[in-house]
Symmetry: C2
Subunit: 327 residues, 2 copies
């Protein structure tokens, strides 16, 4: 295993310390337990948005804390849920007389720990579960995984909270965004988790993993290495079948790199995805291309679309100022 | 070779098309010859900044075109200089009654082609050569390579041009920034150039390439795989020996990923670099951490420092609005 680290045990702490130093104008880092919160607490009466999850997906979630987006994020060890005490401490630090909204990717550990934190919390709170990965069937026993659509939920609900939406409104909006968001990913290589020291899954030189998860979960089917047009067609068809956008529908198109994919390839995938939906009469109203919901050093990408209406577009466009997303 | 592409021959064109579609609010793409320019031409009397170089380093340079930074960028084929006709066409498109400044990384092909373009150009023009890579000796026959410091030159001179600096002032400022900027990089893996189809250089499982270039040029020495503290110490010592910052000196510290390095590792490297210079009494006044001057899918990073004064800090802080850098 080749990584620029000192030791598996200190990786998260050292990395968070660097993150906090690089962005001390935007965020602050709490130790024992670990959470990142805004440097300047939001004005009173704003619903506080708290997210979190295993590390290794950066900039999700710590890089998305700041004006117009999250109030706090709890980083777990790599690909491991943060603990309820992190969530409790984060929620208490950012609570602002308007309740707490937990935004949680749908994984058993995250869901359980956020639930425990919620039960112990003395403040009103709601939870939005993100489950945008259409590579699993809708009736999968543990539900669908939350992947790159999580950033979209956090951005849109973040803007609404900033504009004064109530806790109930934020919860309802988050659920609505999740319902009109669908993603699917493909891996060309496996990631290597430092504690494991070797690739999470084997993949042949002429194989790709279609429908892969962001923790190196195997996809729904191995496929022969295909050209980009075929890969995009495969991902887009699964997404399209789920959301069934009609001609004239406006969408946000998000091409997300898994960490080791050059921007050149991500923009090429974006170009092909635009063509796919434009041929079906869909209007690409907004876009986001880059490495946002990563899986350490995995090569590959996911495609996400979100069905937009005027409200969602306006919330997407609202100013955001975080370490790793801003406009 | 595993890449999300359709064919080597169409990769650049397809990628540029996607880039142009994703950022049509900021830039426009010219075909035949290829260049990217601002969507909205700068106000009359502003010096026009034109850069360019081989592709594969994205977001450098195309992602840095926009308000407060470049006026145009010319993308060559991967790791191959753009041609003089691209540079001429770009310069003529953005010339704005105040002359053209070429910002050129110091590689033989780029230097020659920008010279040819300059000779054919009917407008006043100057060239800033960037040569910040201290892994080569100062008296190297072809001079030192331009690497991650290029972005810093483009940002700072871009801000000065926006504020009304003359062509002579921009040229002089660019040279001054180059003189107080030093970088060095380390690779954990080689990149794979699509046209070649295999890694550019061999590197053992327990080796790293210290002082590597951004085109997969071998470093100045292979080294045994080291921990992050040792790697940072090695890079920082070479940089420090070059610029010799004195206690109390303010610097901008830039940790740049080569494309396949997770943000977690880059922030960890940043933390260690901060400690290195703080122990020497240096003040880390500004920072930039991320994948900005990449080398396709190479794993590794470079460290860059820039000696700041009040003027440079103010220009660094000035607003910038490009596809891939903005504040």
């Amino acid at each position: 295993m080749k990584k620029m680290i000192n030791a598996v045990e200190s990786l998260l702490e050292e990395s968070l310390n660097g993150f906090a130093k690089a962005h001390e104008d935007i965020i602050q880092l709490n130790h024992q337990p670990h959470f990142v919160s805004r440097k300047h607490k939001a004005k009173a009466g704003k619903v506080a948005l708290v997210s979190g999850g295993g590390s290794g997906h950066e900039p999700l979630h710590t890089g998305l804390v700041g004006q117009g987006m999250l109030d706090a994020a709890c980083p777990g060890q790599i690909f491991t849920s943060p603990t309820p005490d992190q969530m409790m401490a984060a929620a208490e630090a950012v609570e602002n007389e308007a309740g707490i909204l937990f935004i949680v990717k749908n994984y058993a550990g995250d869901v359980m720990n956020f639930e425990i934190a919620g039960e112990m919390l003395d403040y009103p709170h709601e939870t939005v579960l993100v489950s945008d990965d259409v590579s699993l069937p809708k009736d999968h026993p543990t539900g669908r995984r939350g992947v790159a659509g999580t950033l979209i939920v956090e951005k849109i609900v973040g803007a609404a909270a900033e504009a004064g939406a109530t806790l109930a409104e934020c919860k309802s909006l988050g659920d609505r965004v999740n319902d009109c968001t669908a993603s699917m990913g493909v891996a060309l290589t496996s990631c290597t988790v430092p504690a494991l020291g070797q690739p999470t899954f084997d993949i042949g030189d002429n194989e790709i993993e279609m429908g892969v998860g962001i923790h190196g979960e195997r996809g729904r089917e191995p496929m022969d290495l295909a050209n980009a047009t075929e890969i995009v067609e495969h991902l887009a068809t699964a997404i399209d079948a789920e959301l069934k956008p009609q001609p004239g529908q406006k969408i946000l198109l998000h091409v997300n790199g898994f960490g080791a994919t050059p921007l050149m390839e991500l923009y090429l995938v974006y170009d092909l995805a635009v063509k796919y939906w434009q041929q079906r009469g869909i209007e690409i109203e907004r876009s986001l291309v880059g490495n946002y919901t990563t899986s350490l050093d995995m090569a590959g990408c996911s495609i996400t679309i979100i069905l937009l209406d005027e409200e969602l577009t306006k919330l997407w466009d609202a100013p955001v100022h975080t370490a790793n997303l801003r406009w």
